[in-house]
């Protein structure tokens, strides 16, 4: 107890003691003081319109603020009792009241014009050349290229060791993923945004795109990016404990490069479907299953399989993992309605589900010896 308290106090105090040092080191190392100051114009027409609107309204506010505060500070400095200034007694003037009601109203009308134009442009999702469905999950994004048969999950790739300070953080800490969304440059891409569990919000700063991902809704938005590169954004709506850990990364590539990439992805999807009919050994499934578990299940059930008492149930030693395979498979494929346990049947391939079931039934001393094959999962799904 005492040791814990001491440890806690040290953890609280260390940042303060190290503050001057750390601040200097960070300013030098990241060199981001200048970048983190204002909105950036971004790489789409909409994002530049938004940036211009932002700068106009910012300067209007600065101008009005300067005028108002100048009058106030003039009074505070000059009209002081300590300088013997005698108070005037005026306290009413309908004329000035009308002036300072009408003038701000006119300024607002003037700003409303570019704001309306930008909004109309932002809402125009017509004539898209490519449709991408974006689905928010706790806590990852799924991208599906509609009509192409290509879909994948995009998970955070910064390690737990980096998050818990056991390892040095990389340059793109919490802004890097296992597999980014890839879209072609100079192409109008329509994003169809929804969610599977709670509300998320898909935000790509540089595109001027932020749209809530809401279960039961499909929201539309679009972007035509005019510069290739890697762009990074975040989830913007509180979606639970993993809210800060589901970034958005988009690779914008040349059109022919995109076509090549899409073909590769289609071939990959085909391979995965073929794999589902093969048989695997326990070792192969355990190895693959560990990866799947740590990527997909450990946010709640922990890498130790112990869960979090009172919030997320354990898998280690649980009746479910030690009982009949069908029950276990049912929960993983169909989820548990009314709880945070999602239906992974549509998120993971048959191979991955078979692997993670095998892993969970044999790891952490569960040792059931059960080997679940992809074909079992396929038959379970079809038998429903």
């Amino acid at each position: 107890m005492l040791a814990n308290a001491k440890q806690f106090i040290m953890r609280v105090l260390t940042p303060f003691l190290l503050f001057p040092l750390a601040a200097a080191a960070q300013a030098q190392q990241s060199g981001t003081w200048r970048e983190v100051l204002n909105m950036t114009p971004g790489v789409t027409e909409v994002s530049r319109q938004i940036y211009d609107l932002h700068m106009i309204i910012l300067w209007i506010c600065v101008a009005i603020g300067t005028a108002v505060f100048a009058v106030m500070f003039y009074s505070v400095i000059v009209h002081r009792k300590s300088r013997g200034y005698k108070a005037a007694n005026f306290h009413e003037s309908t004329t000035v009241e009308i002036i300072w009601t009408v003038v701000p109203a006119l300024i607002l009308v003037i700003i409303a014009i570019p704001a309306t134009k930008t909004l109309v442009n932002l809402y125009d999702t017509s004539d898209a050349e490519l449709d991408v469905k974006v689905t928010g999950y706790q806590w990852r994004w799924q991208y599906e290229y509609l009509g192409e048969g290509v879909q994948f999950m995009s998970d955070l790739s910064s390690s737990n060791d980096q998050i818990y300070n056991r390892e040095e953080k990389g340059e793109f800490y919490l802004a890097e993923v296992t597999e980014p969304l890839v879209i072609p440059v100079d192409t109008k891409v329509r994003f169809l945004i929804t969610a599977n569990d709670v509300i998320h919000s898909w935000w790509m700063t540089d595109f001027g795109v932020k749209k809530d991902a809401i279960p039961g809704y499909i929201n539309e938005t679009w972007a035509r990016v005019d510069k290739t590169g890697v762009y990074r954004g975040y989830c913007a709506e509180l979606c639970g404990q993993g809210h800060a850990f589901m970034p958005v990364v988009v690779h914008v590539v040349e059109k022919d490069e995109f076509a090549q990439w899409l073909d590769d992805k289609k071939a990959e999807a085909e391979t995965l479907r073929e794999l589902a009919s093969q048989q695997f050994s326990l070792e192969e499934l355990m190895e693959r299953g560990e990866g799947v578990h740590n990527r997909t299940c450990s946010a709640c059930h922990q890498t130790s399989g112990e869960g979090i008492a009172g919030v997320f149930p354990p898998i280690k030693g649980s009746a479910l993992a030690l009982g009949p395979v069908e029950d276990h498979m049912n929960i993983v494929v169909n989820g548990s309605p009314g709880t945070a346990m999602q239906a992974f049947g549509g998120q993971l391939s048959e191979v991955d589900i078979a692997a993670v079931l095998t892993y969970q039934r044999n790891a952490w001393g569960n040792d059931t010896g059960d080997v679940v094959q992809p074909v079992d999962v396929l038959m379970f799904k079809q038998g429903q």
Partner: protein, 517 residues
């Protein structure tokens, strides 16, 4: 003179005296301010550097949720109800509140509500972790079991607020001294009258929202569950129909306090009294028709988006009128800078900055970038903290001598002001930069480019926290051992009935109504 207060603990448990109840409200809100402030310190300590250091992300979310709930419902709202209890009868020449027993009840259920809410921190599964806005389905299907206690606590707080508001309306409409017409009332009474109507109108809406959540969780309904034919966006509409008037409920009484302090220390009457009243009423009316500007990214049709943008921009007009009137009140006054005046001037500056960012946020396309970032966090802390809390602090310094017959330490008051002012700005101004550069709010951890300003912000937050400890010390030392004052009029330039009664204000005042000419 009638009898004095009862002896012992019974005085506080059974009192129907508006001054006793006002005092209890103020001390209660002060203690909640420290509780909510402690949560804020945990948040800022965790965000001091990238990576998870002190708490886990789930507990971090509990902290942001509890910080918001405790500050809004436990600190700011009861503080202004406390000020209303103490000052409104004194300002309108009434002997007490119109419904004194209900007054006692509306106070005493409040600590019960917060004990229920705070107890969730010690429950299995933890406290509410879905943000103070508790969007479904994060607050329904995915909520910890303690959500039912949260709902119960909110119901009690709502009942307390509604009772308090009815009491204020009844007092102001029925108990004004002869000759005190509505348009002669001090601005503080006016802003509270309008606030009370807002509260009576929207607190039942909040109660409705939490009741629907309760039904969804426990009784199989699907108000907000898409899988059962419900609508998660409906929740946001219902919540913000309460939530937007709620922010004016918080700020309008603050306007009233500032409209009392600035003329006093400018030794000049409030400029444009009637336009101030109309502006307050206009703001209150507009607050009901702009709620969906909190939802510009939910995918509303463009017509809805445009309407809510235009309506929201309109709020800048009456709010601007108020700021211009305060500045003109100071113009050609005879200004002195005692602590209450420092807080009032800081209020005008910082609230105006918060108002400017409010206009920026009103522009729907720009809000696409600002929404749910630290820019919003900065905006509403400029309005809530530099607005409501600075005004409340100014009010305490302003009326403390009248309440306890002792003068606070002016030098310490000034030190406290500067520490709070500088700390506040170091804490919250950089959050504008963070938000514009793309840092979302309610993040337990962040990417490296945000590290520097987060560290600065945390240092400012700790300074601001320290300033509050100084305030507590200054208030306590004044109440216990401050220099005694007996002049009815503490401040040279003060006007109003509260400055005609003896100092300290006796237990019963205006048992015979004063004449107002």
């Amino acid at each position: 003179m009638a009898h004095g207060p009862a002896k012992g603990i019974g005085r506080w448990l059974f009192t129907t005296n508006h001054k006793d109840i006002g005092t209890m409200y103020l001390w209660f809100s002060f203690s909640m301010f420290f509780l909510g402030g402690f949560f804020a310190m945990v948040i800022r300590a965790e965000l001091f550097a990238p990576g998870m250091q002190l708490v886990d992300p789930n507990f971090f979310n509990q902290m942001t949720t509890m910080h918001g709930l405790v500050m809004v419902f436990g600190a700011i709202m009861p503080a202004f109800v406390g000020l209303a209890n103490w000052m409104i009868p004194l300002q309108i020449g009434a002997p007490d509140m119109a419904l004194p027993r209900m007054n006692n009840l509306s106070f005493w259920i409040l600590p019960c509500a917060f004990i229920v809410l705070a107890s969730t921190l010690f429950m299995e599964g933890g406290a509410p972790n879905f943000g103070w806005t508790f969007y479904a389905p994060l607050s329904t299907t995915y909520a910890p079991a303690s959500v039912n206690y949260f709902i119960f606590a909110l119901h009690i707080m709502g009942a307390s607020s509604i009772m308090g508001s009815i009491n204020i309306i009844a007092t102001i409409l029925n108990m004004r001294a002869p000759g005190m017409t509505l348009m002669k009332m001090p601005m503080f009474a006016w802003t509270w009258l309008i606030t009370a109507f807002l509260l009576v109108a929207v607190m039942p809406v909040l109660a409705g929202a939490v009741t629907m959540i309760l039904m969804d969780i426990n009784f199989g309904t699907s108000f907000f569950d898409a899988a059962g034919g419900g609508d998660p966006v409906l929740f946001q509409h219902v919540f913000w129909f309460f939530g937007h008037p709620e922010v004016y409920i918080i700020i309008l009484p603050a306007f009233g306090v500032i409209s009392a302090i600035i003329p006093t220390f400018s030794r000049k009457p409030l400029f444009g009294y009637s336009s101030m009243v109309y502006a307050t009423a206009a703001i209150a009316f507009l607050s009901f028709i702009v709620w969906a500007h909190h939802m510009f990214t939910v995918g509303m049709p463009i017509a809805g988006e445009l309407y809510f943008m235009y309506a929201t921009m309109l709020i800048a007009v009456p709010t601007g009128v108020k700021v211009f009137n305060w500045v003109t009140t100071m113009f050609r006054g005879s200004i002195s800078l005692e602590t209450p005046m420092l807080f009032a001037i800081a209020f005008v500056i910082l609230f105006t900055i918060g108002g400017f960012t409010g206009v920026m946020l009103a522009l729907a396309p720009a809000d696409i970038q600002y929404h749910d970032t630290y820019f919003v966090v900065a905006h509403f802390h400029y309005v809530m903290v530099a607005g409501a809390v600075f005004s409340g602090t100014g009010a305490v310094y302003y009326w403390l001598p009248k309440w306890c017959g002792r003068m606070y330490n002016e030098a310490l008051g000034k030190v406290q002001f500067w520490l709070a002012f500088i700390g506040f700005n170091i804490a919250f101004f950089p959050q504008h930069f963070l938000g514009l550069a793309g840092m979302p709010r309610r993040y337990a951890d962040y990417s490296l480019q945000f590290a520097d300003w987060n560290m600065v912000s945390s240092v400012g937050a700790f300074m601001y926290g320290a300033a509050q400890v100084l305030l507590l010390y200054n208030v306590l030392s004044t109440v216990i051992a401050g220099k005694k004052v007996t002049e009815p009029k503490t401040w040279e330039g003060a006007e109003g009935l509260e400055w005609t009664v003896p100092t300290p204000a006796p237990y019963h005042t205006f048992t015979t109504p004063p004449e107002v000419k």
